[in-house]
Structure formats: structure tokens, C-alpha cells
Symmetry: C2
Subunit: 344 residues, 2 copies
DNA sequence: TTGAAAGCGCTAACAT
DNA sequence: ATGTTAGCGCTTTCAA
């Protein structure tokens, strides 16, 4: 009677435990544990009986209990910025491949570019005791992670560095890439070049803007502040910004787009514009080759892979001070960036 | 001495527990639990002291222990097919939004289109005792999930139905969408229409092929088997297939692409082809509007949202037999599908 | 080769 | 309002 009640309102929807398996197989609890974990010291015959009981009962080890006892979860967390942004697909996939190669499970979630949500998510993952954390920051203050890192959670930042704490980071060369892209436009005769990017609070945005300014300065070109438009990457905002740059009294003749979201909208806006305007975008986009869009490409998969490998090296005990790895970018000339400046 | 040792080789990298917090705050364990979980019955002053201790120690509740005790994890798992496929970004994001609205965390991983990996991943999530599971199947036999479902793991399949078990599923109308797309090509005068899709084992692939055949049959058109090319969606395979269809003795004048991966490659191949060939693709693609690609669009976000809502309804106790929900598709005419058949 | 007992950190049930 | 006790399902330790 009591036994029935116990199994009826059982918390895990009536799941068999190792104890149940042991009872059914007529062996001790520890023997089941040995079989389940592939530990040695069990005769083939006993093992067979245990497997039979496992099959019959549909037993699956409860990893929560295991984790509680062992302390390690063989799980790493990935805090993305936006799951729907195609840039993060390959990155996330690369992380997952590396995690898999190390026998770890990857949990990921996205912050939707909201710093509070980033924190909430990262801490939720820590509460579930992930062994390590890979974070694409939305915010610029990561001191909330200090206790976690001190407690031993390996942490690597990707795409953007951590704010106000010292931590490993794997980044693309936003500054150098933007400088190269803008120089490319200058080399094609442009002197009035617009920059449309995302919020300056975001590290990559700021770095790319810095690259733009550096390229202009190196060429001895002035930058008029109305050529620089920073803000959300929503189509509405970007569309308005691009139109503004093109309809000013002295319109720009070329555009540098600060990231892939901006590039996509800029291409749409420019397609509706009567005269050709040169464009170079940061980040590659699918089908950009067919549309002839010149871009500064970063290797999203390499970012993810590099970060994940560093994470597992830390988990394997690698010490040393936090490091920053910067991966190079590549200018892919496809047409839009080679439109010459109108003469005069 | 013993205390020091205990904290030094502590399993969670030296993490404080509720007991530690209680000791430091000079209160009982349960009081800490109350504060951490926002339960009533604690005076403001006590609460303050507890919070202080939590801050000082950098305490974070161990959710593994919590889960072990409570049985519910407030976590749902999502088994994707390919994280890098842009189709799944919005889907995954929609699922996450719904999960969040229900106070649950989303764990996702991808099967890389490998049935074994799908199983491994799904079972790993079950071992971590997710409350529910949303699966985009890679395989066609899901009997391995039967014990889990019986044990109470709510399970919903998306994009493709479950194989050999009866379970909730949310699908796009692949058959109807493909039929509409092919009919559209027929309406523009095409009679020799090629179909390039993925492996016929995959449900959506089979359904879309069926839609193609239905449209052809309704128009009284024969289907020559060499017009149908099924297989991997790798660029190499698709490129070869499309070229084959175009260079046959009686080449096709129009193409139906079975999914977004095929469409992308087909567009590239057709761009290099001397004469215009009509194309309609299943799934929308970013920038397809600018390239004038006619597609049969499905709503990836709606798929994810619908599936997640159903999952949580099940978790909230909704009973009844498994249901299949089919969401409609929409033909977006943008040019490539309206290229008329060459006369003669 | 096998098993019994202790305990991981938390919450539920029951005192006080 | 607060504390004590038992126990979630597993692994670790130690004994048989």
C-alpha cells in the first residue's frame, strides 16, 4: 500500500531508480551503478541481468543526482546574443562540436541583446553548475560573474570582451577589418564615406567606428559627424539613417555598414536609390556573393572553435593569466565596394 | 583543520552552500532556503542578514540539488537538426521566448542530421530530467523515447512527425506548399519541371515530392523520373543535379527546390547558366527578395511558438490524444518563378 | 566480485 | 517566525 502510494505520486513521473533496477535484477545498488557507468568488476552474467532489468524498467540514470554527488556536470553553457542572427549559427555549432569532442553537453540560450537577460541566463547556467561558460556579452559589466569564476567556473568571452573583469576573450579584429574596408573605399576614390553601426556601447561597434576614423585620418580625410550614425540595427532605424546620409546637402558616395544586420538593410535601401552608392559591410552574409556585396568577413566558426578550445584547456587545468586572442578578418571584393566615386 | 580540508578539495570548486550561509547569518538552514526562494515568513531584519551573508559568500543555489529534491527542473530541451541552418534560428528563438514566458530555461543542441546523435542528445536531455522535449527529428524511429514519454516527459515534434510512435507534432504543409509552387510554374507555361530535394527518408522531402507529383498529375503532365533528384543538400550534390537537369537531351525549363539549402545552391548554379530557368524554392531565404527568388515560405517562428505552447499545455496537465497541427505556407512571387517557359 | 552505509545540497513535512 | 529531520537518486568509501 505504502509502496504503491510512493510510486504513484512520485516526483519524476514514476521513474525507476537504480534501487528499482537492483531489486529487479536481484543485485546490490552499487552493482547497478557499476554496470551503468561501465566500471569494471562485474561478471558478464551479472551484467546481463542488470541490463535486462534496465531494459524492462526503461531505466535512465538521473543526472541531477549524479551531478550533485560528483560536482562536475560535463556541461558547458553558451550565452548567445541572438539565436536568430545567422552569424551565431556557425559559432554555436563550432562550440558544440568542440564540446562534443570533449564529451560535454552544450546548453545555450540567448540574451536577446539585453544585459539583464544575459546576467539572468549566465547565472541560471551557473546555478545548474555548468563546468564552463562561453559568453557573447550583451552588457558591459560582468562583475556579477566574479563569484562564479572564483568558484571555479571556467569562462571565456567571444566576439566582445568582458567588461570590468579580467577574463579570456576571443575576438575578431574589428578595428583592423573596418580600417581595411574603409581604406578600400577610399582607394576607389571616395572621400565622403558614411558609417552606419550599432550602439557605441557595444565593443565591436566602437572598434569598427575607430577603424573607420583611423582609415579616414590616414588618408587625410575629414569625418563630418553627420556621416556617422549609431544606434539600433532595426530595419527602420538603419533605413532612415541610410536615406539621411544619401539625401543630405553633400551626400556620402560610399557607405560602411557596421555589421551584417546593417548591411542587409543598407542593401535594400540602396537598391531603391537612383544612383549607385558604394558599400562595404562588416560580416559576410549568405548570398552576398550573388548580390555582389563586398564585405569584411570574419570567421564565426573559428571564433567559436577557438573559444571552446580555450575553455576546455582551462577546464583541463591550464593556468596562466587571462588572454585575449584576436582573429583576422578578410576583405572579399565582390563589386559593391569597388563602385568608383562619381567624378566631381 | 578538518573544516579547511573540507573546503579546499570541495567538489564544486569551493562553493558555499546554504548551510554556510546559515552559519554566517546565524540562522537556520530553512530560513536561508525561505529567503532564497522568496517564501513568506521571514522578518525583514532576518532577511537582510541572510542577504548579507549571501553577498559576502557569493552564494548561488545549487539547482542540481534542488531538482533532485523537487523533481521538476523548469527546463525544456530542444533537439535541433542543424544550428547553422538559418531556418532554425527563428524557430529556436520562438521556442525560447515561450519557455521564458513560462519561467523555464531552454537547453538546445543539434543532431547534425544524424539519427544516432539525435537519440544520444534527446536521451542526454532526459537524463538531465528536462520537463519537456521538442524534437526536430533527424531519424525516423523514435521508439527509444517511449520510456521517457511514459515517465512523463512531455514531447512535441516539430517540422517533421515522429516515427513509429504516436506523438504531438507541429508541421508546415509541405505537400500543399509544394503543390502550389509547382502549379505556379505550370501556370507560367512550364511542362518539363525538375524537382531537387533532400533524402526521401526525410518526411518533409517526401511530402514535397508528393506535392510536386500531385501538381503535375492535376495538370495532366507526365513526370520523367530523371527530373527528380533526391539526396544530400550539399552544394556539390545539388550543383551536379541541377546541371544534369539543364544539360539533358530534353532539359527542364523550370526547377522546384525542395528546401532552402537546395534553393541557395540552385540560385548559384542558375546564375552561371546561359539561359533563364524558372525557379521556385521551398522556404524563404534572407535577401531572396532582392534576388527576386520566388519561394513557398513557411513561418519558422510560428512552428516553434506553436510547438512550445503545446508543450507547456501538456506540462500544465492538458490531456487527450496526440495531435498533429499543420501550418499553412505562402507563395511569395518575386520573379524567378514567373519566368515563362520558352515557346516551342 | 559484490554490497552497505554515508552524504552531496537542497526542499517538504513537521516541530517549536 | 524559525528550526529540525528526513530523504530525493546517485557516487564514494569501506567492508565482506
Amino acid at each position: 500500500m505504502a509502496a504503491i502510494a510512493r510510486r504513484t505520486d512520485h516526483r519524476y513521473g514514476n521513474r525507476p531508480t537504480m534501487k528499482d533496477v537492483a531489486a529487479r535484477a536481484g543485485v546490490g545498488l552499487k552493482t547497478v551503478s557499476r554496470v551503468v557507468n561501465g566500471e569494471p568488476g562485474v561478471t558478464p552474467e551479472t551484467e546481463r541481468r542488470v541490463h535486462e532489468a534496465i531494459e524492462a524498467l526503461g531505466f535512465r540514470r538521473n543526472d541531477s543526482a549524479r551531478v550533485l554527488r560528483k560536482g562536475r556536470t560535463a556541461t558547458v553553457g553558451l550565452v548567445l546574443e541572438d539565436l536568430a542572427d545567422p552569424f551565431y549559427g556557425p559559432l554555436s555549432r563550432a562550440v558544440e562540436e568542440v564540446a562534443r569532442a570533449h564529451g560535454a553537453l552544450l546548453i545555450n540560450g540567448s540574451s536577446a541583446e539585453d544585459p539583464d537577460r544575459e546576467q539572468e541566463l549566465a547565472l541560471a547556467l551557473c546555478a545548474r553548475r555548468v563546468d564552463g561558460l562561453i559568453v557573447i556579452p550583451a552588457g558591459d559589466d560582468h562583475r556579477y560573474l566574479e563569484p562564479e569564476i572564483r568558484a571555479g567556473v571556467a569562462t571565456v568571452f567571444v566576439d566582445r570582451p568582458a567588461g570590468r573583469i579580467d577574463a579570456d576573450a576571443v575576438l575578431s579584429d574589428s578595428f583592423g577589418g573596418a580600417r581595411e574596408g574603409v581604406s578600400h573605399l577610399i582607394a576607389h576614390g571616395h572621400r565622403r564615406i558614411g558609417f552606419v553601426g550599432d550602439r557605441p556601447r557595444i565593443h565591436t561597434g566602437a572598434e569598427r567606428l575607430r577603424g573607420y576614423r583611423a582609415a579616414m585620418a590616414e588618408a587625410g580625410l575629414p569625418v563630418r559627424e553627420e556621416w556617422v550614425s549609431l544606434g539600433s540595427t532595426s530595419p527602420e532605424r538603419v533605413n532612415a539613417a541610410v536615406r539621411g546620409l544619401l539625401t543630405a546637402p553633400e551626400p556620402v558616395t560610399a557607405l560602411f555598414a557596421g555589421n551584417n544586420r546593417v548591411t542587409v538593410t543598407a542593401v535594400r535601401t540602396l537598391a531603391a536609390h537612383p544612383s549607385p552608392v558604394a558599400l562595404v559591410g562588416f560580416d559576410d552574409i549568405e548570398l552576398a556573393d550573388l548580390l555582389g556585396i563586398t564585405v569584411v568577413a570574419q570567421d564565426a566558426a573559428a571564433l567559436g572553435r577557438t573559444a571552446a578550445e580555450r575553455l576546455f584547456r582551462r577546464l583541463d587545468g591550464a593556468g596562466g593569466a587571462p588572454e585575449r586572442v584576436v582573429l583576422g578578418t578578410k576583405l572579399l571584393a565582390r563589386g559593391s565596394g569597388e563602385i568608383p566615386a562619381p567624378t566631381g
